[in-house]
Amino acid sequence: MAEATHEAFDPLATGSRRRQIRAKATVYGLLLFFALLYLSPLFIIVMNTFRPLEEIVREGFISVPGLLSSQYWLEAWSGFCLGGTCEGVSPYFTNTLLMTVPATILSTAFGVVNGYALSKWRFKYDTWVFGLITLGVFLPAQMTLLPWAFVLGKLGLANTIGGLVLVHTVQGVSFTTLFCRNYFVAVPDDLIKAARIDGAGFWRIFRRIILPLSPPILIVCVIWQFTGIWNEFLYGTVLTSGTNQPITSAIVAFSGSGTGQRHYNVEAAAVIFAALPPLFIYLIGGKYFVRGLTSGAVK
């Protein structure tokens, strides 16, 4: 629908021939300029992953590479010394994966059920419950750091990936509940009433009617949670240390390890490893993300 209306009216294709050309040139010129501007860091970093260190030192960070080598990628992945071990970023990459995947699945699952219950099974003070859950959306992470450190300590989850999974699941439920509840509000209540008369209960209605309507919002939740948790840095840095850290916290070591010599090329490759999964998710899922946020549940 939305796409059709965009096509139906093209303001750049109105007016005289000269106006059309001028308008198009301006618009596309500006778009190209900003696209290059935003892409330049990525481009420079990728270039540096292939350059020998002495060339970077000699010619500076921004320069056309002379000699290309892929050994720095390998070094960054499995050889580079970081946080006391010399196995590259791969252990930390695994840590992040072990944290992000369960936390994404759990927070999305809880959010869908919460959203369904809060939008379709009204109970006393349900708006209060909803308000309290979504308060988490506006609560700065810094404020929850000490309480979390305390809770994880009590649970015996201090400095563990499991602890981070718990933190991210609980923090994420605020967002996923908000997304799902607002999505399900658009599902007609009559569907639920009809199903209740048909004899279906809470979970059967969820499985047979709500879930089949949910893929767009599930995709939104998964993308949001996956990228958010993958890129998260504060909890990982404060609540874990050493070899238990997620990759975002581990590569902080680049900033001031004090060994004197900076390995720009290896560091650049490591940074790209850290950024690759969210980038990948955006590339394949970005379209569905926008679609899920703007589409209604029932056409």
């Binding site: 199903a195 209740r196 008369i197």
Partner: protein
């Protein structure tokens, strides 16, 4: 046996009372129409019968069992919604089997039932489509089919035809009537359309502002409306209401329309009991109970009529009949007459009123006299 009883039912949302002391009962096999203007509480009442809403006070009985606290699935009812409420991700077949699946009915019986209902409603070719691929009329049929796969104690309909275009609505109306005659189940049918209520129901419950105004057969509701609201709501075009007075002439009572030439319209003698000389009344005459004076229609049927002079302001020919906007004794009125004898706008003409069919109401309370 009465299959549905509603006793002293009240329903409030917060401080707003939307149903006020409703009493209603339906015999087995009856077709009850709940009719009234939008917002009068019809859907709320139906939801309470279905168990989708709780009662504030009072009782709902289905087949003589109080079901106030029974869940919808335990009430043995089937319901058709105004929005149809078809499950959008399921095919038509799945929409219809979902309820049977919930009640653990075996596959063979399910298939048999689907076949029977699909034949009955002629939706066989639609069974594998999704609701999004159906037209409005087809969706309506499927919604009916979903209700008909059961053999419930009660069928509940909430304005099932109001989303269809006029022609389809009339077709489906007679189909629903036929279905009810075949299936013979007690049905409660909500509508704001008084013609639907008149044509379908064995009894009509007229509601207004949460109060049950009258509960009776269509004929009784039409001929002896309990108050001005019912009289005005049922029937199209609306009943005419004139401000009038009762006068006594010898031993005969009559009605004099205010603002006219003082002509006395004598009342049939069986209408005298509660009336007194000089009493103000609201004098109600349905548009079709006027007829051109020269036809002498009422007399030919053995009735009593009186002649009134009428000034025609405007006419609306519908083809089958002509609706006249007229002045009688300076008060606005509507008359329905045959197109052939119809006067033209601006013309004066004598019409007679069939006095057997008139209604009198108390001008203050609106109650029938």
């Amino acid at each position: 046996m009465s299959s549905l009883q509603i006793k002293n039912l009240r329903k409030s949302y917060g401080s707003v009372e939307v149903l006020k002391d409703i009493n209603l009962e339906a015999e087995s096999g009856e077709f009850v129409a709940l009719v009234g203007p939008s917002g009068c509480g019809k859907s709320t009442l139906l939801s309470i019968i279905a168990g989708l809403e709780s009662v504030t006070s009072g009782e709902v009985l289905i087949e003589d069992v109080v079901v106030n606290d029974a869940a919808p699935k335990d009430r043995d009812i089937a319901m058709v919604f105004q929005s149809y409420a078809l499950y959008p991700t399921m095919t038509v077949r799945q929409n219809m089997t979902f309820g049977m699946e919930c009640r653990n009915i075996d596959k063979a019986t399910q298939n048999e039932t689907i076949k029977r209902v699909a034949d009955l409603l002629q939706i066989e070719p639609l069974l594998n489509r999704k609701p999004g691929q159906l037209s409005g009329g087809q969706r309506q049929r499927v919604a009916m089919g979903r209700a008909l796969v059961r053999d419930p104690k009660l069928f509940l309909f909430d304005e099932p035809l109001s989303n269809l275009d006029a022609k389809l609505r009339v077709e489906m109306r007679s189909e629903i009537k036929k279905l009810h005659q075949n299936v013979g189940r007690t049905t409660v049918y909500v509508t704001h359309d008084q013609i639907e209520a008149m044509t379908l129901a064995t009894r009509i419950a007229v509601m207004y502002q949460g109060v049950l105004q009258q509960y009776d057969t269509p004929k009784a509701i039409y001929e002896t409306p309990a108050n001005v609201f019912v009289a005005g709501f049922m029937g199209s075009p609306n009943m005419n209401f004139f401000d009038a007075k009762i006068v006594a002439q010898s031993d005969q009572l009559g009605v004099v329309i205010d603002g006219g030439d003082g002509a006395v319209l004598p009342l049939p003698s069986d209408r005298h009991s509660t009336l007194a000389d000089g009493q103000s009344v609201t004098f109600g005459v349905r548009p079709e109970h006027f007829s051109p004076a020269h036809d002498r229609r009422a007399e030919r049927k053995g009735g009593v009529s009186v002649v009134v002079p009428v000034h025609v302001d405007m006419d609306e020919p519908t083809g089958a009949e002509t609706i006249l906007m007229v002045q009688i004794a300076g008060q606005d009125a509507t008359i329905v007459c045959e197109p052939d004898g119809a006067p033209n706008p601006g013309q004066d003409m004598d019409f007679e009123i069939d006095m057997q069919k008139i209604s009198l109401f108390d001008p203050e309370s609106g109650v029938r006299l």
